[in-house]
């Protein structure tokens, strides 16, 4: 559906020329959620802005449904842009307009008549679950609500493509999840093709079908998300996957799902050399179930975490925890 061929974009600063995007070619299929991940400065933001020509590409072509975007006249480009919704990291809501007026904005640009606008906006408000905030101003909304308004606004013209420029980067993890769920729903129910850029591997893991990894203006790896996790081809990809490991445990381990007492042990560096787990099993009448473990490398040291389930008599469990405390291991009951 979107065919990017040998796309390059350079910025000239006096006499220096800087290639933000260099020779990028990608094929994005209809109805897929395609992620572009990279560190800041990798050129991903410039790339996604080329897709609706907020940035003018220097070389190459972008063909959307058979139309070469790079050759469109200003008037035709404006028409094409209405087919491509976009959301931004900082939401870009009109601060002096209400939620309703913000969503109505693209329709007003179309000079749609008032009653039709009302019908459409009310439907969109319902879709993003913000009907009760209809008359609120952006300053009265939380980050997640602001992004929902922005999404509703981006959908107002029934676009075939939705671009997300770091759409969840300014949000906390929980809100990020809810926005990602909304994007998923949009793809599923409205068949919108979504192209998103991010620096968070979590976003890719959660909703993308395929992903391109960018570094220094180039796509260094393109893969399905599944294969990327199974067998990353580049070091950068591996590094992005590694950023996830410490986040995994919070998601899968819910204390209410376990019968025993859950504890998290933290070891710093040399502390890890003692066979503590076997010691507590031998010394106390309890069973131990290892749920997860990982090591995070910090700047100066490594921190290891172990999550255990302690099963057994309440008193014995309490004694074991006391024992661990005396062994200089940080114990946290979850």
């Amino acid at each position: 559906m979107i065919k990017i061929e040998n796309l390059s974009k350079s910025f000239k600063d006096n006499k220096d020329e800087f290639w933000a995007v260099k020779n990028v070619s990608l094929d994005i299929n209809r109805g897929e959620i395609f992620g572009i991940i990279g560190l800041s400065g990798a050129g991903k933001s410039t790339l996604i802005r080329c897709l609706n020509r907020l940035e003018e590409p220097t070389e190459g072509s972008i063909i959307i449904d058979g139309v070469d975007i790079t050759n469109l006249s200003k008037g035709d480009l404006r028409k094409e842009r209405k087919e491509i919704g976009m959301i931004f990291q900082h939401f870009n809501l009109l601060s002096q307009k209400t939620v309703y007026e913000n969503i109505a904005f693209p329709l007003e640009l179309e000079k749609m008549d008032k009653s039709k606008i009302k019908e459409r906006v009310d439907k969109l408000l319902e879709y993003v679950e913000l009907t009760d905030k209809k008359n609120a101003y952006p300053s009265q909304l939380s980050g997640g609500q602001k992004q929902r308004v922005a999404i509703a606004r981006a959908l107002a013209n029934n676009p075939k493509i939705l671009l997300s420029d770091e759409g969840t980067s300014a949000l906390d993890p929980k809100t990020t999840k809810s926005i990602l769920a909304l994007l998923s729903k949009i793809r599923q129910e409205l068949g919108v093709t979504i192209v998103l850029i991010t620096h968070q591997m979590e976003v890719v893991k959660d909703i993308c079908d395929r992903v391109a990894i960018m570094e220094n203006g180039k796509v260094i790896e393109e893969n399905t998300v599944e294969n990327l996790f199974k067998q990353p081809k580049t070091k950068t990809a591996q590094a992005f996957i590694d950023t996830l490991s410490s986040n995994f445990e919070e998601e899968i381990i819910n204390p209410e799902d376990f019968k025993g007492k859950l504890i998290r042990l933290s070891f710093l560096g040399n502390n890890a050399k003692q066979p503590i787990v076997s010691k507590i099993i031998r010394n106390f009448n309890i069973d131990v179930n290892i749920l997860s473990g990982n090591i995070n490398k910090l700047q100066s040291n490594s921190v290891g975490h172990l999550i255990l389930e302690l099963l057994g008599d309440c008193e014995e469990v309490q004694k074991a925890i006391e024992f661990l405390n005396n062994e200089n291991v940080h114990v946290e009951v979850i």
């Binding site: 976009m86 601060s95 693209p106």
Partner: protein
């Protein structure tokens, strides 16, 4: 005293009101042009931008009294005479217009670049961005700019009194200063101070009231 003060106050209000309107009519479009013709803005025209900047700087450099005398021919053409309250509106408007342009320019520049980018991404035209995005988003700041303009014009109008413009400034000089009617001078100045305070207060309140940010 009142028979002197009331007509003078009315003259001042008349001069300030009309010259505010005219200076905004001239200055506001110029301010918009200054912004949109800038590099990387929505209607990039570097040459036009340079020319406008030049003209505005030159106009702003003129001492007001000299400017007044320079536009005598224009006043004559537009209102048929060169002195009097109505005639003074011409130089007042011309003097304030470049000021208005600069004030509007800086207000419009405060608008978040992100919302302009968003409007472009939705296929908005340049004129739609100006009328539906830039002006409404800058409105609280524009109101403060207009307040500033009115206060400036009260000051200018007092000076204009010196060459036959009438108004409170004229009264303070002619009766208060030259004829040693100190009480009249003090009252005139007090009224001007009250006027400035009142307008500033009102402008601040309106700006806060309409600002939803």
């Amino acid at each position: 005293m009142a028979e002197l003060l009331v007509p003078s106050l009315l003259e001042t209000l008349y001069m300030v009101l009309l010259s505010t309107i005219f200076s905004i009519l001239i200055g506001f479009p110029l301010g918009i042009l200054l912004v949109i013709t800038e590099k990387d803005n929505i209607w990039e025209k570097p040459l036009l931008n340079k020319i406008l900047n030049g003209i505005i700087n030159v106009l702003r450099s003129f001492p007001f009294l000299i400017l007044m005398i320079l536009v005598f021919p224009l006043s004559k053409l537009l209102v048929g005479k060169t002195i009097g309250t109505t005639a003074t509106i011409v130089p007042l408007s011309i003097a304030a217009a470049p000021f208005v342009a600069r004030v509007m320019e800086s207000s419009l520049k405060e608008v978040d670049k992100g919302v302009v980018e968003l409007s472009l991404s939705m296929g908005a035209t340049v004129s739609q961005i100006i009328t539906k995005v830039l002006i409404p988003e800058a409105m609280p700041s524009l109101v403060l700019g207009i307040t500033l303009t009115i206060i400036n014009l009260i000051g200018y109008s007092a000076m204009a009194g010196a060459i036959g413009g009438g108004g409170l400034g004229d009264l303070a000089i002619r009766f208060g200063f030259y004829r040693f009617q100190t009480d009249l001078m003090i009252v005139s100045v007090l009224i001007i101070i009250l006027l400035v305070q009142g307008i500033q207060y009102l402008g601040d309140r309106i700006s806060i009231k309409i600002n939803k940010k």
